[in-house]
Amino acid sequence: MTTTPSGLNEVLQRTFSFPKRHFLSATDLNEVEVANLLDLADGFVSLNRQTSKKLDLLKGRTLMNLFFENSTRTQSSFELAGKRLGADVVNMSPRSSSISKGETLIDTAVTLNAMQPDLLVVRHGSSGAASLLAQKVSCSLINAGDGQHEHPTQALLDALSMRRAFGRIAGLKVAICGDVLHSRVARSNVALLQMLGAEVRLVGPPTLMPAAVDRWNAAVHHDMRKGILGCDVVMMLRLQLERMDGVMAPSHREYFRFFGLDREKLAFAADHVRVMHPGPMNRGVEIDSDVADDLSVSLIQDQVEMGVATRMAVLTSLAARLDNGR
């Protein structure tokens, strides 16, 4: 027995046709598109909380997940988003396919493209890989993280989490803390949050800041207490542990002492502060469990929930454009 989720019609009214074929970068978006995507995602959040979650907006469509880097959470988030929308979802793991046998990225893309997917979700360890593939495929391509460049659906789901927590994004003081240099999450978030009118600060040791970061139009702090002073949101970034041990910072314990988020440092932020983290967390390195697990300040679990809804919004909007193209 199938039932129609209640409130579906209201959500359907929010669907819109995304004006671009691909979803590659937060810098490609404008305010109107973001507002539309967030409204639509908001609608999917309530649908996702019902018992009957299955929709048929992408019925007949094929969604292909192509993850060159392991990521359980992002891949399952896209998989779930596709399945809830009624699409057929295929997960390609390059390690078990021909890509590890010397086939180039583009050959793989051309091969997969010939299987006629409608939506291709790609994660790759090289900056620009998503954009390269987008030039070679005829379907819509969604960037699920390319090297150290962008992770636009993460920024969108972060924005949704913030908007739901504060009712707005404009004017929020957001501190992005940790390994900004290697973080695609930071790059997408800086672009999106600044566009939406938030005040962005970047906090971390100078070794983990990009060159010319002073031209990112964001205040840069190497002292975490000053950096998060009065902030509404503290967004922690995941630290790649192999970059520690004397390469970018001397040790885990020294890093935690100066840049790990604990109660003591968090007290410098605004009283109503919310803490975010794209996951997976390194507890005791960049964030104290005490803070991470406190649901009165942590939005970390909300972020995961918003992730599925946001990706449903992105997939729906891209598919709507495919429909228009017919």
Binding site: T104, L105, I106, H124, S126, S127, G128, A129, S131, L132, D146, G147, Q148, H149, E150, R184, R187, P210, A211, A212, V213, R215, W216
Partner: protein, 428 residues
Amino acid sequence: MSATAFTNVRLVDPATGYDGPGALLVEDGVIANVARRAVLGKLPKGCETIDGRGAMLAPGLVDIRVKTGEPGAETKETLKSAGLAAAKGGVTSIVVQPDTDPVIDEASVVDFILRRARDIQLVHVYPAGAATKGALGQRMAEIGLMAEAGCRYVTDADRPIVDSKVMRRVLAYAASFGVLVAHRPADPWLSAGACASEGEFAGRMGLPAVPAIAEKIMLERDLALVELTGARLLVDQVTTAAALESLRRGRDRGLKVTATTSINHLSFNELDIGDYRTFCKLDPPLRSEDDRQAVIEAVATGLIEIVVSAHAPAPAEDKRLPYDEAAPGAVGLETLLPALLTLHHEGRIPLIDLIRTVTCAPADLLGLPAGRLAKGAPADLVLCDLNAPILIDADHLTSKSKNSPFDGRRLQGKVLMTLVDGRTVYRA
């Protein structure tokens, strides 16, 4: 007995400083007569006369930094395909880099290159030898034997010689044979893993980047070693304002250093990488616009004396990859002259000074019998319509590899004819 007369041409001969109307006679492979603002007089029997209609007649270009894939990677480029590309670009002498497979680090490989070039009979090919065995920067190569066999200078090509002791010995030892050492100024640790220049662009694009001062740091070491050993040094591609400062100071101190830069670094800046265009992935990487302007200025003032194509063929399978995985380098033999002429058309650098950087300056440095319009000199010539517009289409390049960052660019300057030892090797 063959003869060709060029009439009604604009003679550009940087060696004598002459840029003006004239005519030139080629007979038996050499320049038999140069007539400035005058006619040639009586021509030999059966002489072909070419009316230049005001086109430039200059010495054929001498490009001292060219890579082919021969031996070892002939799918990229062979000596023949590079020779054809050179001829089409008005380049009549090339110096090939030693980082082939096998590496040109002993006399037999030098001999192989020279023999192949003689068989192919297109442009003059001179090998550069490796400074160290395998170009690995550890043990000296047989510099003396290679020099005897005909190598023109020694270099480890793209790879800096990291060990200062090795570099010191190479400089001192090579100097005793009168062999020039060329060295790439790049601090190996700062540049490890980098594929772009550090700055706002690379930071936003998430590309691993090297700071511009990595070039200066290595150059300063090299200059100190030059001072210590009294040797000569060819600085292989200066591309940053910071390193130019060091170069100027070194020259002011009277050190025997000569610097090159590449046509790519005169023509593009890092923003040309745009949406991760791997054709613009070069080594050294493209720099900021400030650096590009400083390099142009250095060519204008003569601080940088030589411009090279840095011809580095890379086939599609090596370029159609994510940016950090793609091979660096660009082909450049066919586009060197028209790209260089951009600076003439923009009024930045006088024509004769530009032509000097690709003719007598490199030829004189290496002692090559080329680069001048003198009576009795080998008839290596290029006839070029300076004003004709051309559209660079990478697919139509002669090189086996099509990795040209100039793809789609409109340039001015069309090579009409190229002669090597009086033989026509290209005619449009």
